[in-house]
């Protein structure tokens, strides 16, 4: 029982369950205001960007300012489609988890632009080192949905042979690195890969994603140090969705004064971006990729967004934050914003949107039916049992051969 004043500060979010969330005092730089520095800029040229907010879609859903990537309507519609597909897929997979079809799932609701726009701004040959919440990259890169589902239900067609928890995708063919449960480890690994690409005289860029909470890990520091030291062609994406499970970003000192500011200390140009603004995420990624490809080194992007759903299917956010907080988030919803932008351009309308949602919903339902035909976690078929002994090393040694025999196979 707390009997006295705390003896040190323990940061707390402004709103807890039962409170009325109100973000009106969150002073965010308006879209269109931030300047676009040259790709050969130094960290000093981004000091204002690290505490500001790069945006391109204004309150009227119009594209404004120097960070408007000026994408053609087809590209915008493609982006919208990937984001809607990501959301539809997430909803369906969550439901299937609730029905016991898979052990675990993690949605990316509200953060679809962070992965989809970034993936579209990169080349497909660029290497990505995602965390577990960038499934939008897979859709943007055209991964087979049935394959993704087969992984999540660990069936006989799972390309990871049932070895990994759901959502820990690996897709080498799509230049998508193996997702790890250990937070932040991929950040410095992305630097090693980027150095390898430079070493091989390839103009490949690598991009990696971590969350706000993971910036507290030592690997965040290691990654930025390496990238800065060796001027590696890397894009560091810090997805500040305000929440690390139940802890608000203040526990990782995200307000001191921003997560982007931390990049400046390593001499890296660092920019805070409206993570719910498809155009801004696209433009910032494109800029960082150009910088990296031209040999100017790494960039830190803080993608300012909000984790609208639960952390995972094992989490209930109503235990630590107001239920309606996501709806009060001042940067809105990335899908609604891009959709309204396209409607404003007279390149989209509600009927087409509904038709697309319905089409993608059917696609996901149909894909799941197909995925299930290759087996499910509970009813099989799974990958053959002896496969648990494969791929530990290039060749199994006597220990694994004996242990396999001990298992009777």
């Amino acid at each position: 029982m707390a009997t006295s004043q705390p003896r040190y500060r323990v940061p707390a979010p402004k709103f807890r369950p039962g409170d009325e969330p109100d973000f009106s005092d969150l002073k965010l730089q308006p879209a269109g205001e931030a300047k676009r520095p040259g790709i050969d800029c130094s960290w000093k040229d981004t000091v204002d960007h690290a505490t500001g907010l790069v945006g391109a879609l204004d309150h009227n859903h119009q594209a404004v300012g120097e960070w408007n990537p000026e994408l053609d309507p087809d590209t915008l519609r493609e982006g919208l489609r990937h984001m809607v597909l990501t959301r539809v897929y997430d909803e369906r997979m969550q439901k299937l988890q609730r029905q016991g079809k898979m052990s675990f799932y993690m949605k990316s609701t509200g953060e679809e632009a962070v992965s989809v726009a970034a993936a579209m701004a990169l080349r497909d040959s660029d290497m990505v080192f995602p965390s577990y919440r960038q499934q939008g990259i897979l859709f943007a890169r055209g991964r087979d949905i049935v394959d993704m589902m087969c992984h999540c239900i660990s069936n006989s067609r799972d390309n990871l042979k049932g070895r990994q928890l759901p959502v820990h995708y690996t897709w080498a063919e799509g230049n998508f690195f193996s997702i790890s449960g250990n937070l932040g480890t991929q950040f410095p690994q992305a630097v090693g890969w980027a150095m390898g690409a430079r070493y091989k005289n390839e103009d490949q860029v690598t991009a990696s994603w971590i969350g706000d909470g993971t910036t507290a890990e030592g690997d965040f520091h290691g990654a930025l140090t390496l990238a800065s030291t060796y001027r590696a062609p890397v894009i560091f994406n810090v997805v500040n969705n305000q929440w690390a499970i139940s802890t608000f970003q203040g526990i990782a000192q995200g307000d001191a004064p921003s997560l982007a500011v931390k990049g400046l200390g390593y001499g890296l140009p660092s920019i805070r971006v409206d993570g719910n603004d498809f155009l801004a995420v696209y433009a910032a990624t494109q800029w960082a990729a150009e910088r990296a490809r031209a040999g100017h080194g790494a960039t830190l992007l803080e993608l300012y967004t909000y984790r609208a759903a639960a952390h995972s299917t094992s989490d209930d956010p109503s235990g630590y934050r107001p239920k309606e907080e996501a709806t009060k988030w001042p940067l809105g919803d990335p899908i609604e914003r891009l959709k309204n932008h396209l409607i404003g351009l007279e390149e989209w309308d509600e009927q087409r949107h509904e038709a697309m949602e319905s089409e993608l919903n059917d696609l996901v339902v149909k894909s799941y039916k197909e995925a299930e035909s290759y087996g499910t976690l509970h009813d099989g078929p799974l990958s053959p049992v002896p496969s648990i002994f494969e791929d530990v090393t290039a060749e199994p040694d006597w220990r694994l051969i004996r242990q396999r025999q001990d298992l009777g196979i």
């Binding site: 290497m127 390309n159 990871l160 042979k161 070895r163 990994q164 820990h168 690996t170 897709w171 080498a172 690195f177 193996s178 790890s180 449960g181 250990n182 480890t185 950040f187 410095p188 690994q189 992305a190 630097v191 090693g192 890969w193 980027a194 150095m195 390898g196 690409a197 070493y199 091989k200 690598t206 030592g218 690997d219 520091h221 290691g222 990654a223 140090t225 390496l226 030291t229 494969e390 791929d391 530990v392 090393t393 290039a394 040694d397 006597w398 220990r399």
Partner: protein, 338 residues
């Protein structure tokens, strides 16, 4: 053949590997311009350029992670951790990542990495320059642990490790970098120049991973060990007059169970020895497996020689380090058992 100490042999292995394969790079703290605090990477930056042998920031986790990313990209990095005692900050990257990436990606990404690190005691290194942390790694599926005991093996095992497609923790017993050590701290310094295994081919050759060597044939008792203690065991066998068979394990995971069991079935008695603290040490694994495989041939309990279950002390190093007398006592005790 040229006379080399272990440092020169390791340096020669890196030189040969870098000459033969442009994908081989080496890096670590002070490993570049300066050539390493133990000189193992000396001259390599000058010969192969800044981007093939370079200095790293003091961040072991980042050094391991850099190797992981490079290896996944298709290079063959050789990363140096300045002392095995300082490998712990890299444990997450090694255990959670490097060891598992092949498995968790079902072979889509592989990790042909060597992590080199000076290892073991006997040099007045105190708590943080003397450790033998191999058991932390032998417990990890997916990585291999190699520890040479002489210049010839050091070069051949390092070349085999660099050419292996699996991640390898390569521990180098720094006590025997410059010469063999028989465990007698007050004895004269020895040189590799007078040792048969100090004759090292200049070019390419490998020593097979996973293969132990019977370095002294005997009939009375089998001693299984590795690293510096190989020399202590050999000296103890000569001094005690007990006809011990000494096995140099060389590769800890996967260890050469055939060579061990063949010997123990012949001698009926076994001592396992390592410098590391006794509890949960690699010697414990050896003892358990030998007991299982050779139970009906054993004529005495398996004896385990190890460091004490204490941090490695400075002033009382020679009461800690398993020296000749402990081997002799163990040999007597094991062979006296009826």
């Amino acid at each position: 053949m040229t006379k080399m100490n272990m440092i020169q042999a390791l340096n020669s292995a890196l030189d040969v590997a870098m000459e033969n394969d442009p994908n081989v790079l080496c890096f670590g703290e002070d490993a570049g311009y300066f050539g390493g605090v133990f000189r193992v990477t000396a001259g390599l930056q000058k010969k192969y350029g800044l981007d093939r042998c370079f200095d790293a920031p003091i961040n072991e986790a980042a050094i391991a992670a850099m190797a992981i990313g490079m290896a996944a990209k298709g290079l063959r990095p050789v990363a140096e951790i300045q002392f095995a005692d300082y490998i712990f900050p890299a444990i997450d990257q090694i255990v959670s990542e490097m060891s598992r990436i092949r498995y968790r990606s079902a072979g889509q990404f592989t990790q042909p990495i060597v992590v080199r690190s000076p290892w073991g005691g006997g040099i007045r290194g105190g708590q943080t320059h003397s450790m033998s942390p191999e058991a932390f790694f032998t417990h990890v599926p997916g990585i291999k642990v190699v520890i040479p005991s002489n210049p010839y093996d050091a070069k051949g095992l390092l070349l085999a490790s660099i050419e292996s497609d699996d991640p390898i923790i390569f521990f180098e017993p720094k006590r025997i970098y410059n010469g063999p050590f028989d465990g007698q701290a007050d004895g004269a310094l020895q040189s590799w120049a007078n040792h048969a295994k100090g004759e090292v081919p200049e070019g390419h050759y490998t020593v097979e991973l996973g293969k132990a060597e019977v370095v002294r044939e005997g009939t009375a008792v089998t001693v299984v060990t590795y690293g510096t203690l190989v020399h202590v065991a050999l000296a103890a066998a000569e001094k005690s007059g007990i006809d011990a068979e000494v096995i140099d394990l060389k590769t800890l995971t996967p260890y050469d169970i055939e060579t061990i069991t063949e010997s123990v079935k012949k001698t009926g008695r076994c001592i396992v020895a390592n410098e590391a603290p006794r509890t949960s040490s690699f010697a414990a694994e050896l003892a358990a497996q030998i007991q299982e495989d050779c139970f009906w041939s054993l004529e005495a309990p398996i004896h385990r020689i190890a460091g004490w279950d204490t941090p490695y002390p400075h002033a009382h190093e020679w009461s800690y380090f398993p020296g000749q007398q402990r081997f002799i006592n163990a040999m007597k005790s094991v062979t006296e058992t009826v």
